[in-house]
């Protein structure tokens, strides 16, 4: 048996989201079973079935040098944006 991760799209134009998984002997059974489990009530517009072993997963993050300066935590973009907008409106030519 093989595990297939199931991604579900509710409507066209929306992103696929992880819905769960299916354990099946092959892709054909996974197809049939996924239809019944994730689509029989019309709740999905499309499904993606991905064999779990095809997923390249990343969980380890290297941050050995503590490069905090690369991150934006504590940097108030809101205040800067407000200032920038004010400057822009002052500089804008009079529409009247």
């Amino acid at each position: 048996m093989k595990v297939y991760e199931v991604f579900r799209r509710e409507r066209k134009g929306q992103p696929f989201e992880h819905a769960g998984s299916i354990e099946a002997p092959d892709a054909a059974f996974a197809d049939t079973w996924a239809r019944e489990q994730y689509g029989r009530r019309g709740e999905s517009d499309a499904l993606w079935l991905v064999p779990r072993e095809s997923i390249h997963e990343i969980t380890e993050w290297a941050d050995e040098f503590d490069l905090k300066y690369r991150r934006v935590d504590g940097y108030s973009i809101k205040a800067r944006l407000k200032e920038a907008r004010e400057r822009a409106s002052v500089a804008a030519p009079d529409a009247g």
Binding site: I22, A24, P25, F29, T32, W33, R35, E36, Q37
Partner: protein
């Protein structure tokens, strides 16, 4: 009873009883995924029965529940194939699912081109759902094709399967399944109109709650 009403009851009774039998697998199918799929297919069949009973009920001046539950076992028009209790034999169960779907396709596709628009419309709607049932059944039949137990199950149920379709549709079913037509006496023994001993216990259980308070509004 009109020819149309009796045809509708034939189809509805088959779908109700096969759905009921398949639902006996809920909770005990070989894997969880198959349990969900098989139960869902069983429920679809009962849903088809409901739609067919409603159409028949309008012709007969009654309602779908009365047709499904208030008749005597001998009045049901289902084929013996659907009556058989096959629990807990998965090979026999899949053999019936496979043969039933093949037979059902033969008669449903004939109805899709019916001159009766209501009948043709409902048949087309049912057939759209049956596509997935057929995929499921064929997938299993293919997977079990090399198993002697499955092959003998198909052979054992084959004369029953021919009882699902009208006599003039038997050749087409035989071509589709790839098995020869058995002798006439074997066909007669499993034809629609005869019932197995297994229908009555099923009926007793199926109608138990409804019979407990006759005439109740549920």
């Amino acid at each position: 009873m009109s020819e149309r009403a009796s045809l509708l009851l034939t189809l509805a009774d088959d779908e109700l009883i096969v759905g009921w039998r398949d639902s006996e697998w809920t909770g005990i199918a070989p894997t969880l995924e198959e349990d969900v799929a098989f139960s869902s297919i069983a429920q679809n069949e009962i849903g088809h029965a409901r739609a067919l009973y409603e159409l028949a009920a309008a012709d007969l001046g009654t309602d779908a529940d009365a047709l499904a539950f208030d008749r005597e076992p001998s009045e049901y028009a289902c084929a013996p194939l659907v009556e058989l209790r096959l629990l807990d034999d998965w090979a026999m169960t899949i053999a019936r699912r496979y043969l039933y779907e093949q037979a059902d396709q033969v008669r449903i596709s004939a109805l899709v081109s019916s001159s009766d628009p209501e009948l043709a419309g409902l048949a087309a709607k049912i057939d759209r759902e049956e596509v997935y049932h057929r995929l499921h059944a064929e997938l299993w039949a293919e997977r079990l094709a090399g198993e002697p137990r499955f092959r003998s199950a198909v052979e054992e149920l084959w004369p029953y399967a021919l009882g699902v379709v009208a006599p003039e549709q038997r050749d087409e079913l035989a071509r589709r399944v790839g098995l020869p037509l058995p002798s006439n006496s074997l066909l007669q023994g499993h034809a629609r109109g005869t019932h197995t001993d297994e229908l009555e216990p099923l009926w007793t259980e199926m109608t138990e709650v409804r019979r407990s308070i006759p005439g109740a509004q549920w």
